[in-house]
Amino acid sequence: MDVPILKQGHYLIASIQSALSDADLSQLREKLIERVGRFRARGVIVDVTALDVMDSFAVRTLRDIAHMARLRGAETVIVGIQPRSPSRWCSSG
């Protein structure tokens, strides 16, 4: 399942449409990091509304995306976290 990445001004928007496999998540990470450089993006918005459950791999990947994007010069905002998942975010740092 490919995640579309939209470019809006200086920002990139990745809107996740459905549950993602680990491979999809890794691919999303690579694509986002590459595009941050290519489009000189200042910010990345990742919309995770469609993800009902987030396993620890997803949480870690999203965190990695935020860190890597920061290194490449963009801030990351993650929107639409379901009420059930924040506990996992806290437990996995």
């Binding site: 990091i33 590459e34 450089g37 990695d64 860190h67 890597m68 290194l71 490449r72 010069g73």
Partner: protein
Amino acid sequence: MATRSKERESPATGIPVHTPQDTAELLRELVAHLRQNRTELREEWARRITRAQLLTAMTEEEIFAEATSVYDNYVEALETGTFEALQAYARNLSERIIPRGVETHEVLGIVLLLRDVLARSLFGKYHEDFDKLNPILDAYEPAANRVANTVAVGFVQERERIIRQQQEAIRELSTPVLQVRERLLILPIIGVIDPQRARQLTEQLLQAIRTNRAKVVVIDITGVAAMDSNVANHLVQTVEASRLLGATVIVTGLSPEIAQTLVTIGVDLSEMATVGDLQGGIEEAERLLGYKVLPLEELTPKA
């Protein structure tokens, strides 16, 4: 001729069986023989070099010309027992042929070939007079070995000198610290960063911060292909040290691969300001310094 007078005085040493006078006498005979057959031996040698496919980087005429001068120097070294001239020649030769891609084994090969050719010719001359052949070889071999040694060592030394010189040049070149605006420095890093280079880089940067009274430094690592935790930690330390000297550091141009590695190995980079590319880094630095870059039309009042 200077060599003529030297010839009588210089005894070759290190041959236990004969007295120095004997050896000198024999060497003189030997040299006379080599002089006499100069043309044939030289040609034979050049032929052998070509046959052995050595010095493929050079044309046949060049090989022959070099062979001639090596031969003359060789004979002279045998004759005088002094190797300074040969050493100088070997160095000079190496200087000329190393840039053309001549390998160490080729140089060794041709010197040994010359030794073989000459020994062969001595065998040919004295094969009926075995009592003479032995002392002649006794006199010839140590001298010839020393000659071969001198040339080979000269070549290797020249090589090492070139390598040292280039390392020096790379070290000098590798870390230019450039000033782009008043109190703004750029440090572009290209290539592999090893611990030694990282240390030198830090030193030069801190020095430059001091002399230029820099307030902002942009370190651009677009040209760095990979980074391990040691180098990353060193970079963090450099940033810290710069901060102590009063300069803010902005790191730019992290490739996706480096970004992934750094996050994966978990280097703490929270203290480091990073911007996507050099352009962004300079813009950010200008903002920090209070510069604003405008197109010319906006500056000149419209008439």
